[in-house]
Amino acid sequence: MPSVLATTHPTDTVYGEVGDATVPLRFASTGEEYGVLRERAALLDLGGHRLIEITGPAAVDFAQRLLARDVEYLTSDRCMMSLVLDDDGQVVDQVVAFGREDGLLLESSCGAGDRLLEHLRAHQEDGVEITDRSGDLTAIGLEGPYAWGVVGRLIDAELASLPFESVAEATWDGVDIVFARTGLTGEYGYQVIVPIEAAATLWARALEHATPAGLEALELAMLEVRQPIPRHEATPGATVIEIGANWLVDVTKDEFVGKDAVVEAFEAGGGRRTIGFTGCAGIPTPGTRVQAGGQDVGEIVHAVHSVGLGATLGLARVDPDLAAAGLDLTVAGQTVTTLTSPYIVPKSWSIPII
C-alpha cells in the first residue's frame, strides 16, 4: 500500500516495501536525514503505520484483552505503546494505542497493518467494531531537538510542551487533528493524525520548517536509543523477554492474549537476551553467529552503520550471562564490544523547550 503522500514527495524519493506498505526509505541521503533528525527537526511520513479504530460498547474490554499493557483507563488525552501478542506469546505487532472518547485508535508499526488487523478480527467479539481508518486518516511525524519549535510555528506552541504520551485534539487549518507527543528516537517527537485530504497541505507547510527524513534514518535513530523495531527484532520463536520488550507487557493484568506464554517464559528462565554491540567492520547480517571464548553463544538480530557512532551498531541475542555491557564477543571473526543503551545521547536531553 503506497503512502497517501507519495504524490507529494519528490520523484527521486527512494521507496521500499516494508511489510504491507510502500514507504519512503530516504528522500536524499540517509546520513543527511539522520543529521537533521539529531540536530534540528525531521519530518516523517508515517503512512506505513496503519490506523485502526476500535469502537463499540465492548471496545475497551476488547483492547484490554488484546493489548499486553494496561489500557483500561486510557483516556482520550493519553497514548501508550504496547505489544500485541498471539496465544503463544509471539509478537504480532507493537502499537501505539490512543485513548479516544468512544474507544481506542491503534497505530501499527510500519508495514504491519494487515497482520494486526487480521489478528484483531480473528479475536473480534460482540460489541466491538474494528475499522481500518487508513482510508481517511494518516500520520505525520516530527522528531528532533528542535521539533518543538516546529510544532509551535506550525500548530500551537501550547502543544509543544505536552508531556510524553499526551494527546490533544486540535484544529489545524480548519480540520480536526489528533496531536500527540510520542517520540521514537530520544529526541522531542510528535505525531499528527490528520485527514488524508489535508495531509498534503500539512506536509507542505511543515516542509517550511523541517526537512523530510525516510525510514532508514528513523530506524537508525530508533536503534541508537534502543527503541524496539519489531520488524527487525521480533524474530520467530523469540519470547518477549528475549527480545527485551518486557516493558511493553504488563503481567499484573488479570489476562491478555499471550499472557500465559509470557508468564511461562518468565518463570522458566533461560533463553537468550538482546544486547547492543559495536566494533566490527562491515554490517553483519541477521543470523550471523556470535562466539565468546570460542563457544557459540548466540546470533546477530539486526545491525546497521550508525552515523552517530561512526561505526557499526547492532543487536545480538546471546546467552543471558553475556548480555551485559563492556564484554568482547566475536562476530564473523571480528571482535565486537557490547554496549549499554542508549548508544548515543540525544541532543534533546540537554535542550529545554522554551
Binding site: 494496561d70 483500561e72 483507563y73 486510557l74 483516556t75 482520550s76 488525552d77 472518547e101 506552541a157 501550547e158 502543544l159 510542551s161 505536552l162 508531556p163 485534539e169 504488563d250 499484573t252 493484568k253 529545554p352 523547550i353 522554551i354
Partner: protein, 804 residues
C-alpha cells in the same frame, strides 16, 4: 449585573522581610532581601542553608502576654490577624465575646446556606447584628478562612488537628462566623482569599479574615532538600532558577462587602475582583510543563472578575526559583497574554522572603494590594540578566518600578497540581449589584469505600442485613480503579479516594467528553491526610535527614490525594482541599455548591478520606472497641440494631468512644439542570447546609436551625461517641423530636472526614431508596433527611437533603 463587590479593608503580615505591612513594603520597594543562613545547628546537616526567617522578638513583641504561650504557627497567625483587624478599624474581639455575643452558649449564629430549603430568616441571616463596638460585623458573621500547608506538631511532637490554628485565632479574636481550613499546599493562602469572597457572596459572613500561615519546620526543610529543590544561596527566580528558599510567616486580608465597609466608614484598599482555581491533573509535585493548568486558573480568575487580559497591569508570580516552576510560569505568561506577555511586568517577592508555603499566596496578595496602593511593582531581586530563562518577559529585575496599577493578578501553584489565581483591583465606588443566583444542586452519584463494602450497592446491602465492621479497613480487591502505572505509586489513602471517586462517578452514570472534564470540579476533604505517608516521611527524617523518603514527602501535603484523584480521573476544573476534621466533608459540599452557584462548574466531585493511624489488626478486622461500642459479632452478624422507630435519646450510645476507622467516601454534586439535560437520576437535592463554629453545645444546636421548624424524617448523626454524653442526641431531640437518629460510626468506625461524607451519602440514599443504617423499619424513601458532621470544639455542620 456584577455580583456584590468585596473589598480588602485590612492587611496583616509578618515574614522575614517585615513585621508589619509598612516595614514589609518599604523593604520590597528598597529591594532589601531577607534570605539569610539559618543559625540553628540542627540545619547544619543540609548544604543549602538560606531561608526567610522571622525573629522571635517580632512575634512576641506584637502579642499580648496571654497569647505568647501558643505554638509558633498560631502566634504568627495571631500577629498578622490582629494587624488586619486593626487596620480595618474593627474592634479586636476576644474570647470574652463567647459570653457576651449574640450566640447561645458560646456558639455563633450559624451560617445558613439555604438553597431552596428553609426561609432565610434564621439567626445566620440576621444582618442587623453588629459587633460590640458598633459598626462592625457580629461575631457570628465574622469568619476566618486560613490556608496552611504543614501540620503543626504539638508540645509532645504529635500533630495537632489541621484546623487547630484557625480555632486558636478565632477563639482569641472572637470570630464565630464561617471557619474553614484550606490546605492546597503552596496555593492555600491565595485559595483562602477566594473562598472568603465566596462566603461573603453567599451571605454567610459580613467579614472574613482570609490568609495563610506556615512556620519553618525541620522536616519540611529536609523534604525539599531531598527533592534537590533548595538553592544554596538566596534564590534567584526567573533567572538562575537554581532552587528555592523556604520561608516562614503569616499574612491576612480582611475582606468585607464594599457596601458594609463604606457604611461603617472603612477605607477599601482593594477589591477582590475574582479568583480562579484549577487542577493540573498531571503529577504529584511537578507542574504541568505546558502551563495549561496555571493558565486555566488565570483565565478563570479573569472571567470571574469580568476582566480581560488587556486589563492586567502587573502579575505577582509564584516565582519559587525552581527550574520547573519558572519555566512553567513563563509559559503561563505567554499562553495567557500572548503577544502582550512581554509588556506585563511580573515579579517574584519570594526573592525577598522565600517560599512561605501555605502563607505564600496571602503574603503575595498583601504585596499585591500594596502594589495597587502605591502604584509600584515590587522587583524580583537577585536577578541575573545573563541567565534569564525567558528573555522575552519583563520580570522587574532588582528595582521596584513605579507605574500605574489598577489590576493585579497574583498566582500560586502547588504540589498536587493545585493552582490559584487572584485578581485584585483598585477599589471603586459603590454600585448596584446582583445577588449570587440560587441554583438547585443535586447529588447524583455515591461512592462509599468502607469496611462494610465498596460501592453503594455493597453498602446498601450491609445496611439491609445489618452487617457492620467498625474499624475494618476497606478492601480494594476484585477490580481496578486506575491505570496500574499510577496505582502502584499511590499510598493507601489515595487508593481509597480514587476508588471512591471512580465508584461515585460510575454510580452517577456520567459520561463526559475530555473537554467537559476540564471543567469538572473536585473538592477533597480530609482531617489528617495520609497517616501512612506522614509516618513514613517522619521516620525517614528521624533516621537520616539527608535521606528523606521523597515519595512520601510529596504525599505529606494534605491535598496530595485530591491531586491524585484529579490526575487519575483527568479532572482539571476548580479544586480545593478542606481540612476541618470531621466537618470537612460538609464544608467541602459548601465549596461545591458555591462553584455551582457561581457557574464555575456544573459537576463537582466531593471526596472525603481519612485513615486510622494505627495499623490494622493482622486479620484485617477492627481493633477491639475500648468501650463496648458495637463490635462485629464473631459470626459476622450484626448486634441488635437500635429501634428505628424510637426518637433519639440523650441516653443513647453517644457517650461511647467509637473505633477509629479508615474510609473514603465520594459523592457527585451536580446542578439540577445539568443532571436533567443528561437524563441523570439524582438521589436527592441539597435543601440547605449550615455550619456553626465555636466550642460547647451552642454550635450543634445552631447548626440544626437550618431545619427552620420543619423536622426531617431521619437524622444521620455523628454518634456513637461524639460528643461525650449524648449531646448530639439531646440537640436532635430538641430540634426534631420525632425524627429517628442514627449514625454511621457504628457501621464503619469513626473515619473523620469520611464519616461526615458517609452521613451525607447515606442521607441521600435514604431519600431516594428508603434505606438507612440501623433503621430497618423506614416506611419508604424519606422526603427530608438530615446529615450531621462534627469537628468537636471547632465546627458543626448540618446538611438537609430533600426528595426531588
Amino acid at each position: 449585573m456584577a455580583l456584590r463587590p468585596v473589598v480588602v479593608t485590612g492587611l496583616g503580615i509578618i515574614c522575614a522581610a517585615g513585621r508589619d505591612p509598612a516595614e514589609f513594603w518599604s523593604r520590597l520597594v528598597a529591594g532589601q532581601g531577607a534570605l539569610t543562613p539559618i543559625e540553628d545547628e540542627a540545619f547544619a546537616v543540609f548544604t543549602a542553608r538560606h531561608a526567610g526567617q522571622v525573629p522571635d522578638a517580632w512575634i512576641d513583641g506584637q502579642l499580648p502576654p496571654e497569647d505568647t504561650g501558643h505554638d509558633r504557627t498560631a502566634k504568627l497567625a495571631l500577629v498578622a490577624a490582629r494587624q488586619a483587624i486593626e487596620q480595618a478599624g474593627l474592634p479586636l474581639g476576644g474570647p470574652d465575646q463567647d459570653e457576651s455575643g449574640t450566640s447561645p452558649a458560646g456558639g455563633g449564629p450559624g451560617q445558613d446556606r439555604s438553597g431552596t430549603g428553609p426561609p432565610s430568616d434564621g439567626p445566620g441571616q440576621d444582618r442587623s447584628g453588629t459587633g460590640p463596638a458598633g459598626g462592625g460585623p457580629a461575631p457570628g458573621r465574622f469568619g476566618i478562612i486560613l490556608g496552611k500547608c504543614q501540620a503543626t506538631p504539638d508540645a509532645a511532637g504529635r500533630y495537632q488537628p489541621m484546623h487547630r490554628t484557625a480555632d486558636v485565632v478565632a477563639t482569641r479574636l472572637g470570630l464565630l462566623g464561617p471557619r474553614v481550613l484550606v490546605s492546597t499546599a503552596c496555593a492555600a493562602g491565595g485559595n483562602a482569599v477566594g473562598l472568603a469572597k465566596d462566603k461573603i457572596l453567599t451571605g454567610e459572613a459580613d467579614a472574613v479574615l482570609a490568609g495563610g500561615v506556615d512556620p519553618l519546620l525541620f522536616g519540611t526543610y529536609a523534604g525539599f532538600a531531598g527533592l534537590q529543590a533548595l538553592s544554596t544561596g538566596p534564590c534567584r527566580p526567573y533567572s538562575r532558577s537554581d532552587g528555592l528558599n523556604l520561608g516562614e510567616g503569616a499574612a491576612f486580608l480582611l475582606l468585607e462587602p464594599l457596601d458594609l465597609a463604606l457604611a461603617r466608614g472603612a477605607t477599601p484598599l482593594a477589591e477582590v475582583a475574582g479568583y480562579g482555581l484549577s487542577a493540573d491533573a498531571y503529577h504529584a509535585t511537578a507542574p504541568d510543563p505546558t502551563g495549561r493548568g496555571g493558565a486555566g486558573a488565570v483565565r478563570r480568575a479573569l472571567a470571574d472578575a469580568g476582566l480581560t487580559t488587556s486589563d492586567v497591569h502587573y502579575v505577582s508570580g509564584h516565582g519559587t526559583g525552581t527550574p520547573a516552576n519558572d519555566a512553567m510560569e513563563a509559559k503561563v505568561m505567554r499562553l495567557v497574554f500572548g503577544e502582550r506577555a512581554g509588556q506585563v511586568p511580573t515579579s517574584s517577592i519570594k526573592s525577598f522572603v522565600g517560599h512561605t508555603l501555605g502563607a505564600a499566596g496571602a503574603v503575595e496578595a498583601v504585596a499585591s494590594v500594596l502594589a495597587l496602593r502605591h502604584a509600584t511593582a515590587p522587583p524580583t531581586i537577585g536577578f541575573d540578566g545573563g541567565a534569564a530563562g525567558a528573555a522575552d518577559l519583563d520580570f522587574v529585575p532588582d528595582r521596584a518600578r513605579p507605574m500605574p496599577i489598577d489590576t493585579v493578578v497574583s498566582n500560586n501553584y502547588a504540589f498536587g497540581g493545585n493552582n490559584v489565581s487572584l485578581v485584585l483591583t483598585a477599589p471603586r465606588g459603590p454600585r448596584p449589584y446582583a445577588e449570587l443566583p440560587e441554583r438547585t444542586a443535586v447529588i447524583t452519584g455515591l461512592g462509599p469505600v468502607t469496611g462494610v463494602g465498596a460501592g453503594i450497592a455493597e453498602v446498601a446491602e450491609a445496611l439491609a442485613t445489618g452487617r457492620r465492621a467498625p474499624g475494618r479497613p476497606p478492601s480494594l480487591d476484585g477490580r481496578t480503579y486506575a491505570p496500574r502505572s499510577l496505582w502502584r505509586h499511590m499510598n493507601h489513602l489515595s487508593r481509597m479516594a480514587i476508588a471512591a471517586s471512580r465508584l461515585a462517578w460510575e454510580d452517577a452514570g456520567l459520561k463526559l467528553p475530555r473537554k467537559a472534564l476540564d471543567d469538572v470540579g473536585l473538592v477533597f476533604a480530609t482531617g489528617a491526610g495520609s497517616a501512612e505517608s506522614t509516618g513514613g516521611f517522619d521516620e525517614s527524617i528521624a533516621a537520616n535527614p539527608n535521606k528523606p523518603a521523597v515519595l512520601s514527602f510529596s504525599n505529606v501535603v494534605l491535598n496530595a490525594t485530591g491531586g491524585a484523584v484529579c490526575q487519575t480521573l483527568g479532572l482539571r476544573g476548580p479544586t480545593t482541599t478542606i481540612c476541618n476534621g470531621g466537618a470537612s466533608a460538609s464544608i467541602a459540599l459548601d465549596c461545591a455548591l458555591e462553584m455551582i452557584r457561581a457557574g464555575k462548574a456544573e459537576v463537582v466531585l466531593v471526596v472525603a478520606a481519612d485513615e486510622a493511624s494505627g495499623p490494622p489488626t493482622p486479620d484485617g478486622s477492627a481493633p477491639p472497641a475500648p468501650d463496648g461500642s458495637a463490635p462485629p459479632a464473631p459470626d459476622g452478624s450484626a448486634p441488635p440494631a437500635p429501634d428505628g422507630s424510637a426518637p433519639p435519646s440523650p441516653d443513647g450510645d453517644g457517650g461511647a468512644e467509637p473505633v477509629k476507622g479508615s474510609a473514603a467516601v465520594a459523592f457527585v454534586v451536580e446542578s439540577a439542570e445539568h443532571c436533567a439535560e443528561r437524563g441523570g437520576t439524582p438521589y436527592a437535592k441539597v435543601g440547605a447546609t449550615r455550619h456553626a463554629a465555636g466550642d460547647g453545645p451552642g454550635p450543634l444546636a445552631d447548626s440544626l436551625a437550618l431545619l427552620a421548624g420543619r423536622p426531617p424524617e431521619l437524622v444521620i448523626g455523628t454518634s456513637p461517641g461524639l460528643p461525650p454524653g449524648g449531646e448530639e442526641a439531646a440537640a436532635v431531640l430538641a430540634a426534631a423530636p420525632d425524627a429517628p437518629l442514627t449514625g454511621t460510626a457504628a457501621l464503619t468506625g469513626d473515619c473523620q472526614a469520611a464519616t461526615g461524607a458517609l452521613n451525607v451519602a447515606l442521607a441521600a440514599l435514604a431519600v431516594r431508596d428508603g434505606i438507612a443504617p440501623g433503621l430497618p423499619d423506614l416506611p419508604g424513601p424519606a422526603s427530608r433527611a438530615l446529615a450531621l458532621t462534627a469537628a468537636p470544639g471547632s465546627v458543626r455542620g448540618a446538611v438537609l437533603l430533600e426528595a426531588i
